[in-house]
């Protein structure tokens, strides 16, 4: 987009949207929310960046390589946490039998493995949303009248 007001306000607003998304992911075991809604917020902020600043600029910030790392890394971290439980106590994906520290209910550092799983899910959902948007928009660049430049 060529508009100067939209670009300035987007540059100011996107860090706050991402901060809110990280807050919702990390407090998944205290307040409503969790990994899926927080990941959607972070993905939406990156889609806003793509819409305002154009596709080539956004592809430099979130390239194909980073999308590969984020997608595979989310599932590998999830399965890795499950395998930790398997090696320690013989059950896949357990919380209290695998020795994760539970802490006081209501604090930020509580819940054992639940915040770690929420972080993995959040990264994966954000990367999925941005990858799908870039894939659906890409074909427009090669036409005669480019869509988003």
């Amino acid at each position: 987009m060529e508009d100067r007001i939209v670009k300035s306000i987007t540059r100011m607003v996107i860090p706050f949207i991402q901060l809110y998304g990280v807050f919702i992911i990390l407090h998944g075991h205290i307040t409503p929310g969790g990994g899926f809604s927080g990941g959607t917020l972070i993905g939406t902020s990156l889609i806003l960046y793509t819409l305002v600043f154009g596709l080539p600029t956004a592809k430099k910030k979130f390239s194909h390589r980073m999308s590969q790392i984020a997608e595979s890394g989310g599932i590998i971290v999830y399965v890795g946490i499950g395998l930790v439980g398997l090696f320690i106590s013989g059950q896949f994906l357990t919380n209290i039998n695998a020795g994760f520290p539970l802490g006081e209910p209501g604090e930020l550092l509580s819940g054992g493995m639940i915040p770690l799983l929420m972080i993995a899910i959040g990264i994966k959902v954000a990367s999925t949303m941005v990858s799908l948007f870039h894939l659906l928009i890409e074909g427009d660049l090669d036409a005669d009248h480019p869509g988003i430049r």
Partner: protein
């Protein structure tokens, strides 16, 4: 008056059924491919509303542990089940939209009647 009382008590379920029928009518009647995909999405959303309305308790509080005694929480299990449902509906919508992009590249139109004629001519030529 009892009919109105029954209607107001089950307003969530009746709304879910109405959304389902709106989505179904969109899939059956419209000729544009993208509108029909949106109709599928609306049908999926209506089922989520139905599931969450099953778990509701009149006068209940959200299922976060509060320090007070004697509160009834709403049923948390249907809210967990719809998270998987949302992911499935998003997957179906995205895949259908990508196939629509390929259809537009190949045939130049996304109207169902023109597509039927074009595909029939393609089959006759092959």
């Amino acid at each position: 008056m009892q009919i109105i009382q029954v209607f107001v008590d089950n307003i969530n379920f009746i709304g879910a059924v109405a959304l389902f029928l709106i989505g179904l009518r969109t899939v059956v009647t419209k000729k544009n491919l993208i509108k029909r995909i949106m109709g599928l999405n609306i049908m999926g959303t209506s089922i989520f509303l139905f599931l969450v309305a099953i778990g509701n308790v009149t006068g209940g509080v959200p299922p976060i542990l509060s320090g007070e005694e004697g509160v009834t929480y709403i049923n948390p299990i249907p809210s967990v089940l719809i998270l998987t449902g949302i992911v499935v509906v998003v997957s179906i919508t995205v895949y259908s939209l990508s196939l629509t992009v390929k259809i537009y590249e190949m045939y130049g139109t996304i109207n169902q009647d023109e597509l039927t004629n074009l595909i029939r001519e393609d089959d006759l030529h092959d």
